[in-house]
Symmetry: C2
Subunit: 118 residues, 2 copies
């Protein structure tokens, strides 16, 4: 609720969905779901430079999906499920009607759907 530089829900969802829109970052999330790990170990399975994985982790961190604890020279990363829950809430808010109005396109098609015609 700060007066300046207000961070909106849209800002947060932009960061969260963008962070998840990359398979390397999703793999990092999947890996971290099994437990905390340091950057070097996280980078090992991927065929790319450490710097590249480091940048991916920063993207996840900026989205709030990953927490980091620095102890000495090693950075230990861990999953923060809060933002994942936010994304999940957004999805279910606009998608959980797959019970009531399931497939509104099909119903639209057979109803003649004058609503959308000019």
């Amino acid at each position: 609720m700060s007066a300046f530089a207000a961070v909106t829900d849209d800002d947060r969802l932009d960061l969260i969905f963008h962070a998840l829109a990359n398979r390397t970052r999703r793999a990092l999330v999947a890996r971290l779901a099994k437990g905390a790990a340091k950057v070097t170990d996280l980078a090992e399975p991927f065929g790319m430079s450490l710097a590249a994985v480091s940048k991916h982790l920063i993207v996840l961190e900026n989205a709030g999906i990953v927490d980091r604890r620095v102890s000495g020279r090693v950075h230990v990363c861990a999953l923060n499920t809060g933002p994942l829950a936010s994304a999940d809430e957004w999805l279910t808010a606009y998608g959980d009607f797959w019970n009531e109005k399931l497939d509104n396109f099909a119903t639209f098609v057979e109803s003649g759907a004058n609503e959308a015609e000019e």
Copy 2:
């Protein structure tokens, strides 16, 4: 399961999460959750060109989130919740352990967490 140009789950999730990583497109999804609509009507609330909204709709369509029915010169768009459900499944697969190992970072911190040290 075609032999050539196999489309993987990662490919699909890339498209879906990318499509949702933009607030205009999320607003379009929110709008379409209330019912099918034609492109011009969908574009009206946004302060941008029709072509821009058209491109956003194509992104959503390529992700499978939006279906399109062309009747004459109007294109009627409708939500397809399938891909939203896929994204939801991914999220819950890697996030629903917020019951059992809730906040594995906190537990990691106080446990000494030799697992991740070198």
